[in-house]
Amino acid sequence: MNFTLTNARLINPETGTDTLGALRIENGLIAEILPAGTEGIDCNGKCLAPGIIDIGVKIGEPGERHKESFRTAGMSAAAGGVTTMVTRPDTTPAIDTPEILDFFRRRAADMVPVNVLPMAALTKGRNGAEMTEISFLQDAGAVAFTDGDRPVSNPKVLQRALTYAADLNALVMAHPQEPTLSQGACATSGPLATKMGLPGVSPMAERIQLERDLALVEMTGGRYHADQITTAHSLPALQRAKDAGLQVTAGISAHHLTLNQFDIEGYRTFFKLKPPLRSEDDRLAMVQAVSTGLIDIICSMHTPQDEESKRLPFEEAASGAVGLETLLPACLQLVHAEALTLPQLFRNLSLNPAKLLGLASGRLAISAPADLILFDPDKPFVLNRSNLLSKSKNTPYDLRRMQGSVLKAFVSGKQVWGPT
């Protein structure tokens, strides 16, 4: 279907511009960029941006369909303006063979209106011992390799996996947390964790593992993405690696950009995340790092958990929060606070993830796929978690005043969200 979206603010992360204009969509691709006033579907001056590419989405299938299914994840993504979900392999069983990956992709194709690009496990069973069939998995469609929130503790295993992956130009994503230091911890160490009597982990555990990983990347020449960098202690190492020309990128969840450790007060388990929420100083440093581009990508780290796994004493409760539907409003908080411009934000949400994965989407460019979202950045609302489309409702933003709503979402020119 061919159509024109007109009178929209075109948020272009490549050029860094935010100007009124129109887009002509033909055969699922962006065909032309036109001036405002062109005839077509009137967007009334709302924002039109490349759809979000969210790296690190957990879907409950296989194994935990009661927490999230392909169908609910797909609806949640479309509603949140996420036009590409890059999924995690930390399912039950883990996605570590081409056969499981094949099942996963077929289910996704049947049920999900947005793009699904799966990541596969880096080691078999995510056990950190033996690497998976990286080449076969690549052929089956894996876009990156990761053991999810389990760091590969044995440096020899990671060294070999990085070396092997480098030959195939495969991307390795890691969760930089030194496993023995962070074992059993459920909060960032400091006066608050001490007062609450919770086992804490120093933010240094992140830096230690990141430094180790970066040394291995230097040794092997592999491509490496740190899923979440959340503390200022990690930034110098990241900067050094980038300056040295290593193929290294870093992400952060919107939660770590908008919440801090004090949110867990009262033992509120919906704020129990991995890594744990950090100090306000760290949060501000991360916002700064995102705006300078040192941190490349913002993601939701969508981790559905049912009520049962959260209604427990803090130490026993499961970690993680859903985020597909709140990713954009949470990030817009940074725009409204003037920490980021809209084009800068979409550089982190769309353009950089596309570049990292070698996708043609993520930009407003001629002959790019028409994966687009139309949104109102200002619309205020109070989040009610029971209205989320995700099967699990474990959001830390319940009852929070937020701004921004996705009016329409398109995937390859086909509308997947909003009134037609």
Partner: protein, 315 residues
């Protein structure tokens, strides 16, 4: 009367409430020393002790306190019960709640678990220790012991020594003694000092001799080996040498300084056995006695709260 329906921690109490609890405790100290130890503050009420973690002294102290006030007291050994069958804490609480208890005395190995349970029940909940968070009645009984020995509970210098990191007793005592305007000094190996504790209004040192200088009260803590996941100290003999309380180290404190320990003691690990038994310095037995009185006072006040609430509902 307390402002809250529950007693979940010292943090939620005001200075006035602490003083009120201690004042009422004094009457129960007197009552407990008479041949007839019974009164009827909890007549007709049901008290359930739920201990998810093994305890002998605290549980019996609560049981005696309840019985002396006329409550029907039931002990539930939670380790042996439905928890092992996979029931969640909240389900256990809801089940119990349906039996209409009035006072729930709860101990749990995880911080914040008692507060979580309190949200789900209609009765008054008393925290008898949650993880490494709080143990409010221990801090109150320590305060009563100090007040009786020193004649006041303000402008004293109190050293809390040993395994601070794993101790809920240390946290509750820090909060209480701080609120009452005392100087609190934490002494122990750096490996057993929780991160950032120096930002909570206390002095911190790893030197026992320096730390004990001029203190009025020496509060020893038990080395909680069962909570440790790895070596925090090289050996108990080195620990005793550097941080164990003996007469020589105690000589640095004020001549009339008292020695306290929440029990159970590891003699020869954190405290010299002879010193622990020295009736001129050690108030350890008195602490146990005060424990019953303080728990009676707290339950009495919580019961008054419940009755007030009922009246409000009827009007």
């Amino acid at each position: 009367m307390l402002t809250s329906r529950h007693l979940l921690g010292i943090e939620g109490l005001s200075k006035q409430e602490i003083t009120a609890i201690l004042d009422l405790s004094e009457t129960y100290v007197r009552q407990n020393r008479q041949p007839n130890k019974h009164s009827n503050a909890l007549n007709g009420l049901t008290q359930v002790n739920m201990f998810f973690e093994a305890s002998t002294r605290t549980q019996s102290s609560f049981e005696i306190a309840g019985k002396r006030l006329g409550a029907d007291v039931m002990n539930m050994a939670m380790q042996a019960s439905s928890i092992t069958k996979g029931e969640t804490l909240i389900d256990t609480a809801m089940t119990l709640n349906a039996m209409h208890p009035d006072l729930l005395v709860v101990r749990h190995p995880h911080s914040g678990a008692v507060a979580l349970l309190a949200e789900k029940v209609n009765c008054a909940v008393l925290n008898a220790g949650d993880g490494q968070h709080e143990h409010p009645t221990q801090a109150l009984l320590d305060a009563l012991t100090i007040r009786r020995a020193k004649g006041r509970l303000h402008r004293l210098t109190i050293a809390i020594c040993g395994d601070i990191a794993h101790s809920r007793v240390a946290r509750s005592n820090m909060f209480l003694l701080g609120k009452m305007e005392n100087r609190v000094r934490l002494i122990g190996p750096r490996t057993l000092m929780p991160a950032g504790v120096d930002q909570l209004g206390v002095e911190v040192t790893d030197n026992m001799v320096e730390g004990l200088k001029g203190v009025d009260v020496v509060m020893m803590l038990r080395l909680q080996k069962e909570r440790m996941d790895g070596g925090f100290i090289p050996s108990t003999r080195e620990y005793y040498h550097r941080w164990g309380l003996d007469a020589a180290k105690l000589a640095n404190a004020k001549p009339d300084a008292i020695v306290m320990h929440p029990g159970p003691m590891n003699r020869g690990v954190e405290i010299d056995g002879v010193l622990a038994d020295d009736i001129n310095r050690s108030v350890i037995q008195e602490q146990v006695e005060m424990g019953v009185a303080v728990r009676m006072a707290v339950m009495d006040l919580l019961a008054r709260g419940l009755r007030r609430q009922e009246k409000d509902v009827m009007v």
